[in-house]
Subunit: 336 residues, 2 copies
DNA sequence: ACTTCTAGGTAAAACGATATATCTATATGC
DNA sequence: GCATATAGATATATCGTTTTACCTAGAAGT
């Protein structure tokens, strides 16, 4: 029944002033041991918890950062979140997550709510078709923002991403060294920047090793679609014996398709995924893939935001983390 | 360079008082059309956005609710979140999510941060080993809370759950009707309430149909562990020909184990999962499962919280949604 | 013409914290 | 012994809103 205790409540109970209580709670060190104990006792007894809203309003220090990501259910993202939270919690920040579901409308609503609620900064995976007015929103409100995985059209934002070009170069060269001569790039959405970078890496190796024209095949990023797209690809290009994929999920879909055709991934057709999700190594056969450590990426992300908050006017930074090629059983030498 | 615009900024620009601007922004309808237009124009020009913190402090109305869930990456949970958000956004609430990772320590930190930041209410999946002091925290601060999926030890909280007992009764009877005589319950953690309810349903059918003593087998909730546990189960109980599982993931793990043993799920051993995740119907063979519609569950959840916020002193409610049996190819008649 | 009502607007207090300036003893310097 | 530090506590202004009560004109009623 009693209303929420405030500084005043505690002050009265301890027989001191509000100012004193405030100083004790923040540990400024200007208060004597005797009164400090008194105040702490009173605070504990009343279950007093300071109201962050009031504190942040007056002090101008925000202690909460937001994340807006395209798919909260993606296991990779979940690991990123955990890396971010661990690092930012150390500095006393709370990290709360919004799911845009890769929907520009929803993302805009998220962003508007985000702005109203005054957070210190934003970690953001821009939705696929982010509209200009959404970008405008971020620009005019000058929110400290770090994008990750995907970059935005906005100048001057920090970014943490993956060395995509590098990664697919590694994967493609690996397949070529195994003797494959007809390698396709499989999966993803045509107008995605990230995918284009990956295709660039793939194509560059093809060029360097004179392996003919690139074969690039689209497929939405789920298993089912991956399977269907793979049926289409094998019909159109029966000569293909190796796949560099835009993601593990779609790669697993492709493997399924192969199996339904009586082929064995890793023997008849080699498949390399991207992401190293858990399913990649419990599938049959285990999937070769390009692995990025999402937890570390999350920590890097947190680090970048902290630096930005520290120095709001520093020039924008771009950090790219390398992907490592993990060879499992879905890849093997080309058959003679 | 200009600092963030406030009510005052807009008021000066429009040549009216703060109070007037405030009324226009909230649409109280007491302001004439002429001045309203003036104010709105000024607000737009300055990109003014009200500060939720100040507003909520004064009005006492909170417009943000939090969710704390055990695994943000679970696709089922992601769907729940989306149902919750859609419903609560209609009422002008922002929904932000924290991931406890099923870790009691992290959950407690989440909760403490949550309390400081003053949100209207909490949607909560209690972590597996939730400690007493965590529960105490919620109780003493009287936060409007709805638990879901798992229930807490706290009296008087609303709850939205699944008719677990009912679901596994359906599944077990279905298998028995297919002629199976040795049905095991597979997966989950020994001391989980939800699992116990499911085991109860399973056992009750065994009793009614005189199918011998229950066989209950533990397994952590990932594919790999499911596979390993299944090897152990077949070794210990070769007579088992059907499985009621505690989740799809673990069920898929079991199917894998069967395949590695040269057996065919649905022919040699029938398997029923729980959750109906996307993988369940793109696996080979597609997995029979108990389906709960997570989006609808989310909406129900939002509805329950809204009702609680409306009537803080209403008696606690419990809502259970039914799970539907979806029969796919991982189940079939017992072999003669 | 005089009261009474109402519409449209505003001043000022409040929400719960922090920050700044100020106050009062007591300790210190010479 | 007198000025001056200094430590410990406090009064008060402030952050950006909402709310309440009040004010002022012109409209309406008689």
């Amino acid at each position: 029944m009693s209303p929420k205790p405030t500084l005043d409540t505690v002050a009265k109970a301890a027989g001191v002033s509000k100012a004193t209580v405030s100083q004790v709670m923040r540990g400024t060190g200007r208060i004597s041991d005797a009164t400090r104990k008194k105040v702490l006792a009173a605070a504990k007894a009343l279950h007093y918890v300071p109201d962050e809203r009031a504190a942040s309003m007056r002090s101008g220090r925000l202690r909460e950062v937001g994340m807006i990501i395209h798919h909260i259910s993606n296991p990779f993202n979940a690991e990123v979140i955990s890396g971010v939270s661990d690092r930012l919690e150390q500095e006393g920040y709370l990290v709360s997550v919004l799911d845009s579901q890769d929907d520009p409308e929803r993302q805009k609503r998220n962003l508007e709510a985000f702005i109203k609620s005054s957070r210190a900064g934003l970690l953001w995976v821009p939705a696929a078709e982010t509209t200009d007015d959404t970008e405008q929103l971020l620009k005019t409100h000058r929110i400290p923002t770090v994008t990750f995985l995907r970059s935005s059209g906005i100048e001057g934002l920090d970014h943490v991403g993956i060395k995509n070009r590098d990664a697919t170069r590694k994967a493609t060269r690996y397949l070529a060294d195994l003797g494959h001569r007809h390698i396709a790039f499989f999966g993803g959405d045509a107008n995605a920047d990230v995918r284009n970078e990956r295709i660039e890496g793939y194509t560059s190796i093809l060029d360097e090793m004179h392996l003919g024209p690139p074969i690039v095949w689209e497929a939405p990023d789920d298993k089912m679609s991956g399977m269907d797209a793979m049926f289409a690809l094998t019909a159109a290009h029966p000569e293909v014996t190796a796949l560099v994929c835009n993601g593990d999920v779609v790669a697993l879909g492709a493997c399924h398709a192969l199996q339904r055709q009586g082929k064995v991934p890793g023997r008849d057709v080699s498949v390399i995924g991207f992401d190293n999700i858990q399913d990649a190594y419990v599938s049959t056969p285990p999937l070769s893939t390009l692995a990025v450590h999402p937890y570390q990426l999350g920590q890097k992300l947190a680090q970048t935001l902290l630096a930005r908050l520290e120095q709001p006017d520093a020039p924008a930074s771009t950090t790219l983390v390398t992907a490592e090629l993990i060879s499992r059983e879905s890849t093997g030498p080309a058959m003679a």
